[in-house]
Amino acid sequence: MVNLTIDGKQITVSRTATIYEAALEAGINIPVLCYAKKLLPFGACRVCLVQVEQMKGRLIPSCTTPVSEGMVVTTTSEEILKVRKTVLEFLLVNHVIECPVCDKGGECDLQELTYAHEVVTNRFQGEKFNLETDEVNPLIERNMNRCVLCGRCVRVCDEIVGYGSYSFINRGFETKIATAYDRGLNCEFCGQCVSMCPVGAILPRPFKFKARPWQLKEVDTVCGYCGNGCTVTLGVLNNKVETIRFNDKIGVNDGNLCIRGRFGYSYVNSEERLTTPLVRKGGQLVETSWDEALQVVADGFKQAQAGLGILSGARLTNEEMFLLKNLAKVAGTANLDHSGGECYKGVTEGVAGALGIAASTGTFPQVEACEAILAIRSDFYETHPVFGMVVNQAVKRNDAQLWLVADKRGKFAKLPNAKNLLHRPGMELDVLNGLARVLLDEGLAQTEGVEGVAELKQALANFGSDQVAARTGVEADALQSAARQLAAAKKSAILLAYGLPYTAYSRELGVAAANLAILLGIPGRDGSGLYLCGEKANSQGAIDLGIVPQTGGLGAQAMLDAAANGKLNALYVVGEDMLTSYPDHGKVEKALEKVPFLVVQDIFLSPTAAKAHVVLPAATFAEKDGTFTNAERRIQRVRPGIPLPGQAKTDGAIIADLIEKLGGNLAFTGSAAIFAEIGRNIPVYASVSFNGIGPQGFVWGGEILTPSRRRLQPIGGAVPVEGAFQLLTGSALYHSGTVSTRAKGPQAVVAEPYIEFGREDAKSLALKDGDLVKVAGNGVELRLKVKVDNRLPKGVLFAPYHFAAAGINRLYKGEAAVSVTVSK
């Protein structure tokens, strides 16, 4: 700690603090422009100048100067104010002043500083910039005439996003911020640069001229897309979500978002939302009253009895899932599962079997300080971009060693220090087993208090580094050094994402990852963690709440099998478009057509809903009150920002009505009461009350979750996929599930399905972007648009699973990779 005096105040701060930070702690606000809390100090604008007695003769930038013992700092004096004013005057020389038509007006740092320092006239005259506005893309507009060259956009895109769109180009008066070759922006469109720009030089286009900031109602809630659980602050105007506001004050994401959270909101305002209940009459879905709809559903459920199956999507809040579980009980069925079904088994069976807990053992922010990180599956950044940004920072700022078990050269592979254990499609399991075997062979494994060591050793007989290398294509040396480095790190993390397009070996991968974590001593160790990240906003909630097959009941796939074979009486699907998102379209279709009574509760008339006997219009995250639990066990408040459209109801309200119609009675109403009831049933949720959930949420089980046991589970390898071309499916960064395909932002960037080829294959097949190709496999042929990129090794193809029209799931039946042929 260091003692110093600022404006006469004696203070003690950490020795790593800067003068600016120290002042802030003492409640003294020094004006800044290029400084941003989450970025490294830069010192470009000189707005933050202060006087330091020990450094007489010049003014010191407070945002870059570290404190030292006995420092005496003055933050305001006539001289300082004069210099600050001059700095501002200089900034305004070339800056084109058009506040009346600039969307930043009212929250522009330059405007505020100019006002505060009463810069009314300018002693300096100079040429104004006259640069063209970048409006090539539909999401972000760049007007460099308003730029003050603070470099915040450059730095955030590099330091946090790891994309590196921008750089300072040219010099002197010509200096400006540009992309490579000064082209239109074409990037991840995460919008971090928008949120970092202190002036109106980078603005969100969908919000252009919509409102002044003070007209917006702001509502803090949780992003409805992925398990990252980012805080989003809805900007609401006239009962519509018009934008997502930057907010780094609360939540886990430091104000960082991905394109889905930042620009993927428009679906909630969509004209296509379901607004009335529909019931099938004479083969047609027709509008009906809630009374009739609920009665038909209740009657159908009563008739179905134990033959009712219930599938819950992860759009539901914890409170709603709790009600759903109650509904299953009242309806007398044990067939309950969350829509993730198969793919959640890595957590609910794999990790639970190993550690006695079905969740990540650490929290996201801890990963920033990890020395070694192993990310399994190349798509991790795509499924959980903002957690991915934490990894970026660990690698870029703290020199963490990043190892990837991946089938592509994805985004992570481009980070400095990243080593990609690039394997043949579907062979993750073998690589993980190979790593475990190295640890055991070389005596690097932590085996104290660990069960099943001998059994695992036996099971790994065929996983020597050379054998694994031959099967997976990962070099034996690389495998060994990865294992050694991971073992040497005091703080390390293993990351594995799960979700609907990754059903193959789901349980096995959970087991293999847990084995590895145990052997590395990760679970329960300070600063280390095994992270299993669910695809959807409340995937973890579904697991916590026990939305799994009840004793003797069927799981998701078993329900579909039963339905397809005429053995399920009724199916109630809440918030999942299975026809689009589930593997094996044919089977799903047959199941939905054969089941005598199908109820779909959703926000759009999805292909699945179109097959229903009754359709119940439900709510989006932006209309709900309750809690989500993210992939690090953080329970966060979801708050309604807009009213429900038409007669739509929240999922919770619908389920409660159904419980009543079925003769059940609920002793609790309202989210707070239900949350309390959850606590009575699930002890880890009892340690916080609904209203006690603070702005950072509440992590159940604590920052580090201690496992109740360490049990290695013997596990085999994967079956290699044959064939010259192997098709992978999965998530694309710009989308999440199927909902994002109804959102303008993601659609503006990736509007349609495609099939991705690596450069090498594209060259040998003479394919270029936009060509149509026939892809055939599993007896099905699809025509898809070609996209060429440099991520894929030879023979590997990728197609995202989000798009209903593509029909990828006609071809993909849940395999790790599908052997396909390609022709023009």
Partner: protein, 166 residues
């Protein structure tokens, strides 16, 4: 993405073997960017766009950063350059003695202004600051040869001379 972006990023046909060889040599050296770019320019005569993306990938930097460096230093050329670089001095002494007329003549005869290159890749014009031969102002240089006391007529002669050469 929009069509504008697509066409803009369309790959230039260029043999990357030379650039790869240069990168092989420097890839593990810290701070290798400047020497790499200089070597690439030496090899190709300018910095072709595909080599920028290649260098970015192999040196683990962003293309945008390389572009920043390339535009900061006047020594780098982003376009192919002519066989003969005609430097027209626009320093004070030359300016006073009619450098603008010399530049204009070049423009009239060959159609190229500052930093422009003829389509046949024979000539590139460059307006430069004082080249230290003020005594003979106005001055031009063609590659390494200096020509002083230039007039429109002398300019024509010099241009003709180089036009005839290969």
């Amino acid at each position: 993405m929009s069509e504008a972006v697509e066409t803009a990023t369309a790959e230039q046909e260029i043999d990357l073997a030379g650039a790869n060889e240069i990168l092989d040599h420097y890839v593990d050296m810290p701070g290798a960017l400047m020497p790499v770019l200089q070597a690439i320019q030496e090899h190709y005569g300018y910095i072709p766009e595909p080599t920028v993306h290649l260098a970015a990938e192999r040196l683990n930097v962003y293309s945008s950063q390389i572009f920043g460096v390339l535009t900061f230093y006047a020594q780098f050329h982003l376009e192919p350059r002519g066989k003969y670089i005609v430097r027209v001095c626009k320093g004070t002494a030359c300016h006073v003695r009619g450098a603008n007329r010399i530049g204009d003549t070049l423009k009239e005869r060959l159609g190229i202004g500052h930093a422009e290159t003829t389509e046949d890749l024979k000539f590139t014009a460059e307006y430069v600051a004082c080249i230290g031969a003020c005594g003979m102002a106005p001055v031009i240089m063609v590659n390494d040869a200096t020509y002083g006391s230039m007039t429109v007529q002398k300019m024509d002669e010099v241009i003709e001379k180089y036009k005839k050469m290969d």
